[in-house]
Symmetry: C2
Subunit: 494 residues, 2 copies
């Protein structure tokens, strides 16, 4: 029997998915396992693979088959898969192989050097590598924008968040800027009235790891299909069949690694519950980075830092580390709902977090549009940190613009996803609470079945079948509405 | 400037090397890190990659370029590289892609199931998978033999040990069979006269790991270019720039993991010292599996269990585990030079080890030649174990024919390398001692500089530049001569 064009495409994309499996594992290994001298060979291997996948994806045969398949008789699911295939093709086809390879190499090198440059606060060394990455990212943005129309930055944004534009972001973030500073000030002021007892370490790494595993079990992580490890910058990687999450431990600080693990567990459960029967096809991939982030923030912020969940988690903490005044219930809850502006985005509370994102958004957009240069970043960073959070990062690059890993491998356009994710998470949690009247009680009892079923049915199992807007409308009754995020923050913090 | 055919080939083989880097890391991960549910997707990804590499290696362009490059003006090194490229091409070209993929899939599945089947002593389940692997290995052997001439088994042997034949093995192993049983009996009898004190555990895994790392440091392992991890079956994997060795721990047994680590460190140092400037080219690969094994046995047996080295190692052991009667010097040395026939090959002493290899050689040769079937293995295994070592494995598959991993992924023809390696190791150590008069004293002082320089200069740095015979003649003055192995065993054990 002759294959249809669509069937041929599914075979090609399954093949691409197998190759990207190897890159995903080698990529995870690079961050979680690889010794320093493996860096050059690994970068070259990953770049070679990215060239190969680019060649396959952008071949004449794929182009023709995509166009021919449009005329074939496809069901809804197949049509959605074809839409996602076409999107991948279009994203890739306009980039020459040489640029793909050069960007991949520059990114791997920049990231690898960053690991030692950051502890050494070596901005000069880092900036030199970053300039290469920015150069290639600008080339990429120009090529993408020339095809799509719209601004260069919008063209990068579209990689992570289809249908999102800087105009829409300006509106969403503009709204945020109108009320967040005041909310932040009020929350800080309110909390200043109560003195909290800080947890007293040391909290040995081995027990912190066990506690993280406790939380992952509680949250339904499938350990037969994933792992928890350590990396400098926590992430969720691997493949849906084998999801690798990482965290980092500080023996003086208990909750940073723990809530990092809870956050990554949200990403992981999304991956672990993508539609199994379509795995390997584009339609089975997670919908977008912001939707992905909505799951991690659903776990970490909406669920994880709720009073009900914190209460449920407390016995695990005291079982691992014994009792101490900081673990007295009210103090412990208040401690984990503290609003305390700080330097580090990944450690930020959910009220000041958007400030970190808007700062990066404004800088990276200007950088890609060519309005500023890499050398301008530290001063701008310092200025915006002072403005938003009253903190200076002058000469302190490691806690300033060198804290993140996203720009090192050219991930410009990614940062807005974090705050979009926070907005989606609040909207989804609101909808879940409406649908599940016994939710608070279930959480306090450690019974998350109904909640995770709701997520599975409304988000996870759909992969990329629907557009983001359609998925969110189906799940919550309306498109993205930042009102729910504001309401959530006001309810929890004012 | 136009590329020569030879230059084009070096680019293709560099590309293949980058792809095999990803497979090597994903392969290591499969054994050392991967959770069980990742197995199917990983097998498929590795099989897809092995098909791709097979396609590239056996393409018309490579075939033509290999033939055209023969006419080009090449220096000795380039000519050696071309010889190794041609060998790789010939090895691959006669196998259809479908067989390569089917064999890779069957092997991955068999290995993965083995991990739970072995603890359950589930021979029936294992045999079912193994039959598939044998089926494809026989097909492979038939195709190879049809091209090369010679027997089917010889055709597989040639993959691992170029220029080796079963006729030569029969002579080498025949010699061994003429004196080893007597030597084994005499050594056992001699040692029976002295009662040894067994080390008293438990020896916690974490400290065993630290002791292993001590030994690796002492032996010059480069930790910036490699790691030590855990897997069910110890191995040395990864890539020369990033060598991954594994061991397994038993808290009641101290020396098994330790000497396993020392063994793998020998493999690792060979890889870490392959010629850096040629990496990515076939000429930079290790010479053969037997030569590789000669390095691990040089480290584990020739050096590692020598009185001088054991003495040097002892303070590390007592520093990690305190003192106990078993660590009294004479007892400790005798304990680590014990001859004690047992079920498990990887735990065998160097006197009974060849019996394990000859047993497997005889079974796998008959299996590939079609003289026996998978169902015949357990009875033959039991019969040969009883004959050689006086031990029965009846109904005890997990300590019998299910103990090894080699057959699970179709590595027939590999086992003889172990005993060839032991013979090469004895011959090399003899030559090194002749070249380095202060060797014993250096070892006792923990100064291995001269010894490792000798290995680097005579073996490691040459990669595959010379044939095995030429390399060994250059290093020792003669081709493989089993006399040195016999002499070594007699000196140490009689």
């Amino acid at each position: 029997m002759e294959n249809t064009h669509y069937q041929k495409l599914t075979k090609t994309f399954a093949r691409l998915s197998r190759f990207s499996h190897l890159s995903a594992i080698a990529g995870w290994d690079m961050f979680a396992m690889m010794p320093p001298n493996g860096s050059k060979a690994r970068s070259e291997a990953l770049a070679e693979m990215s060239v190969l996948c680019h060649q396959i994806l952008t071949s004449q045969e794929v182009a023709r088959a995509l166009s021919d398949a449009e005329q074939e008789d496809l069901n809804d699911l197949e049509r959605a898969n074809l839409r996602e295939m076409t999107r991948q093709y279009q994203q890739a086809a306009l980039l020459p192989e040489s640029l793909v390879e050069a960007k991949s190499l520059a990114g791997s090198r920049c990231e690898h050097a960053w690991r030692t440059q950051r502890p050494n606060n070596d901005w000069q060394g880092f900036a030199e590598n970053l300039k290469q990455v920015v150069k290639y990212s600008r080339e990429e943005a120009a090529l993408r924008a020339a095809q799509r129309g719209g601004s260069r930055y919008d063209a990068l944004l579209d990689i992570y968040e289809p249908d999102m534009t800087s105009a829409r972001l300006d509106a969403l973030f503009g709204d945020l800027k109108s009320w967040l500073p005041d909310l932040l000030a009020r929350a800080t002021e309110k909390q200043a009235q109560k003195t909290l007892i800080a947890p007293q370490g040391p909290f040995p790494t081995a027990q912190q790891r066990e506690l993280g595993l406790d939380a992952m079990k509680l949250l339904g992580f499938d350990f037969d299909g994933g792992r928890l490890d350590v990396s400098a910058h926590p992430f969720c990687g691997g493949v849906p069949e084998d999801v690798r999450i990482t965290t980092r431990y500080n023996e003086n600080e208990l909750f940073s690694a723990l809530f990092g693990v809870i956050h990554e567990t949200g990403h992981a459960r999304y991956e672990q519950n993508l539609p199994r029967e379509w795995l390997g096809q584009p339609v089975a991939l997670a919908r977008s980075t912001a939707l992905h982030e909505s799951q991690s923030l659903f776990f970490e912020m909406q669920l994880g830092r709720s009073e009900a969940f914190l209460t449920r988690l407390l016995p695990h903490i005291t079982a691992r580390f014994g009792n101490q005044p900081a673990f007295e219930r009210d103090n412990y809850i208040a401690w984990n709902q503290r609003v305390k502006p700080g330097y580090i985005r990944v450690d930020a509370d959910e009220v000041s977090y958007p400030a970190h994102v808007v700062l990066r958004y404004e800088i990276e957009r200007a950088l890609i549009e060519g309005e500023i240069e890499v050398d301008d970043i530290p001063a701008l960073w310092d200025e915006k940190m002072q403005h938003w959070l009253g903190l200076t990062t002058k000469d302190d690059y490691r806690n300033g613009c060198m804290q993140d890993i996203h720009w090192t491998d050219g991930g410009f356009g990614y940062f807005p996803s974090y705050t979009l994710g926070a907005m989606y998470a609040a909207q989804l949690f609101h909808a879940a609470r409406r649908a599940l009247p016994s939710l608070e009680r279930d959480i306090a009892n450690g019974d998350f079945t109904a909640l995770f079923d709701w997520l599975r049915q409304n988000i996870w199992q759909h992969g990329s079948r629907f557009t983001t807007a359609q998925l969110v409308i189906n799940a919550t009754g309306e498109d993205l509405n930042p009102h729910y995020f504001r309401k959530h923050l006001e309810t929890r913090y004012l």
